[in-house]
């Protein structure tokens, strides 16, 4: 088998790995084909029907479900394709809220991209619009909301939860004429089996699943999750002097972008008001604020009096290697004892 398959899309010759779909091959070559339900981490299902293309000798096919083949001739534009796409797009946006500027996905939204590409006729839309009351937003999860009014029913969240996370907390649910995404029995997310990992939120192509109080960071710092021993790679999103977001590092081999609820949403402690911001020393039985100089002198003075076997140190499995190295060096080289341990056993 050849390493690469060659095909033409709109007269452009491209190559792709065998087995790749026409859609992903095109996107990889910098060629846009409208799409909503395809996600690189998931198997294609072909439900949004936006990615229609014409393959010579075969007619219209879904680009996300059709693998590349040697010599394939593909066209992404034709009156027929444009017509189907326009109708599909209109149906998607006809009752979509129009407050894009207030949406957390604004500017990163796949639906905006599709609409911009396909083109929208305001008058036709106005005629199609039906009067519907907005459906209630599920705000029960403390970290993210589900707004069915913004949902395009691509099913990416459903497949993420079942195929990637193995949790299957959510599915398509039918409420009268309207389909939404909901946990089994349509109960609120917080009462479901949902583990709040946020993997569905990350993959939602529109603003239907969106983090609460989302703030965009001004810069990101590549680091490692502070919680469990898996050591997932993360990017800390910083804005001003606060951490406002965490994103899984897609390139780190330990987690390839995945995170759990603690890693993704558990950063609030960093800028918490309870943080210790000055040393404290006990005076007359009470802890009172002190300067570093005073606290350190006191520590050194008292440690100097208990060198040897009357001293012990407990290092921390939450501190860095360098810090733990220094603590054991202090204990052994300066305090003269090997009584150093940490809570590895707990």
């Amino acid at each position: 088998m050849a390493d690469e398959t060659s095909l033409t899309i709109d007269g452009l010759s491209i190559t792709a790995r065998p087995g790749t779909s026409i859609l992903r091959a095109a996107l990889k070559s910098g060629l846009y084909i409208p799409h909503l339900c395809d996600h690189p981490d998931l198997d294609p299902v072909g439900v949004c029907r936006l990615c229609l293309v014409e393959v010579e000798g075969r007619g219209l096919v879904l680009a996300c479900r059709t693998p590349v083949e040697e010599g394939l001739v593909v066209r992404t534009e034709s009156p027929e394709i444009n017509n189907v796409r326009r109708v599909t797009t209109e149906l998607l946006i006809v009752n979509h809220p129009e407050d894009c500027l207030a949406c957390s996905q604004n500017d990163r939204c796949e639906l905006q991209r599709v609409a911009a590409y396909v083109g929208v006729d305001r008058q036709r839309l106005a005629r199609l619009r039906r009067d519907a009351r907005p459906a209630p937003v599920d705000t029960s999860n403390p970290f993210f909301d589900y707004d069915p009014n913004r949902c395009v029913l691509c099913g990416i969240c459903v497949r993420t939860c079942s195929d990637l996370q193995g949790v299957s907390a959510i599915d398509f649910a039918f409420r009268g004429f309207d389909t939404t995404i909901a946990p089994f029995g349509k109960m609120p997310l917080a009462q479901s089996r949902c583990e709040s990992c946020g993997e569905c939120v990350v993959r939602c192509p529109v603003g239907a699943l969106a983090p609460k109080n989302a703030q965009q960071p001004s810069r990101e710092v590549r680091t490692t999750c502070p919680y469990c021993g898996v050591g997932c790679g993360i990017y800390l999103g910083v804005r001003g002097e606060r951490v406002v977001a965490v994103r899984g590092d897609p390139d780190r081999v330990t987690n390839r972008g995945s995170l759990c609820v603690k890693g993704r949403f558990g950063y609030g402690f960093i800028n918490h008001d309870d943080r210790l911001t000055t040393p404290w020393v006990r005076r007359n039985g009470r802890l009172v604020e002190a300067e570093w100089d005073e606290a350190l002198s006191l520590v050194a003075e008292r440690f100097a009096q208990s060198k040897g076997e009357s001293f012990a140190a407990l290092a921390s499995a939450k501190c860095t290697n360098e810090e733990n190295y220094l603590i054991q060096k202090l204990t052994r080289a300066v305090m003269g004892t090997n009584s150093i341990d940490h809570c590895a056993r707990l």
């Binding site: 709040s196 469990c228 759990c260 404290w280 939450k318 190295y325 056993r345």
Partner: protein, 528 residues
Amino acid sequence: MTNSIAEIGDAACILAVGTNTTVAHPVIALQVKRAVARGTRLIVINPKQIDLCRSADLFLQPRPGTDVPLLTAMARVIVDEGLADTAFIEDRCEGFEAFRRSLEAFSPESVEPITGVPAAQIVEAARCYATRKPATLLYAMGITQHTHGTDNVLATANLALLTGNVGKPSTGVNPLRGQNNVQGCCDMGALPNVFPGYQKVADPEIRAKFESAWDCRLSDAPGLTHTEIFDAIAAGRIRSLYLVGENPVLSEANANHVREALKRLDFLVVQDIFLSETAQLADVVLPAATFAEKDGTVTNTERRVQRVRRALEPVGHAKPDSWITCQIARRLGAGGFDDARPENILQEIASLTPSYGGIAYERLEGDGLQWPCPTRDHPGTPLLHRERFATQDGKGRFVPLTYKPPAELPDDEYPLLLTTDRNLFHYHTSTMTGRVEGLKTLAHEELLRIHPDDAARLGIADGQMVQVCSRRGEVTVRANVTEICPPGVVSATFHYAASPINVLTSSALDPVAKIPETKVCAVRVQGQ
């Protein structure tokens, strides 16, 4: 871990024993679940019906504390049915004959009354693990937190040796370490008997090396372990304690004892990011920086050394721990603490620690490096024991084992068995996660899980407050009536200061690893 996280997905069989993986190591659990979706067989061995059971092909539910007979009976089946990897045993192991003889006492039928696991299930699990190769074995604190925890670990190693599931991709004996840098903390010699890189303090040559590097005299007497330190404090032998980033008042077994002990100290220094329950007892509290406010390295459960990078300035007057420790040392007149810059400290570590010899900041930009990494051009070691084991002669050693019951079992007075675990939303004593509003909302209080039969017998309703007593203390906690726990067993976490479960647990120790038996103690539960 002998092997790497990324290898788990390619195993043909995964044996997960004593690990509540979806809760404690969620992203490793993803690997496990995705492997199962692709056809990997999953065997779960756990006293509780944990979440991972939903993905399992086989679920064995032993009584807590009976892992040695269970795992050894599996070994017996493997030998009896001729499923052992004889070439591997011949080539790379020793002590097989004595081990084989020791299996006499462990037929699946004879251990059934001890473990409560039907013999047929033991046979099935043994066949699956021995025949579907490569097979990987994952374990966590359900294996280690016992008075016979070392034996449990040896029992897992025996199984892996017997089937040749070591030293090859997607095999191995893989402990999943709990805290983000518990591996690194051990590697760095924050242990009473070894210097960095597990170099023994009792070895005169090693000591000489560190004495010359640090320009001092070093003690050859191994120090005290965590639990022993608290005993020595209680006995008045240790007078000052330097405690960094730990909260033993909640995390330590037999927590009342710990609290009493700490009060007896002449001088307690606590260095932390919050005023923890333990810090409130201190004479001096030193404000430390969080991971987001400092540079450094941490080592994950697969021995991967990764970077932590400063994203913010420390809040207020807080300082990185490395700065604080260096300041204390310098004020004690010590040399060798002048440079607190992490990249230079790592250089010193590398110069004294063979397994970290080749690790340096400029090499850690991508995925980091897995130790052993002895030289600057060494690529790191994703997979241990490829050709030889870390023993003198390079052979893997079978160890015959005997069944030792837990130190404290239920009796008339304390008829239920308490085993501790964790939940998904909190971490250790919740000093960090307890300050994240959403995590508090999702899991805001301790729950004592109890089987419906026990609950009915005791007249306890789901959601009711109950009193739990052991020989060491008592706690009030909300009951959660569920079949996750088998009859006779109750379980709870230790995340919550309001229901400090570790006042109940036993600090009986494993004689070798000195791990307290927090996975088994006897309690009495009554409604309020």
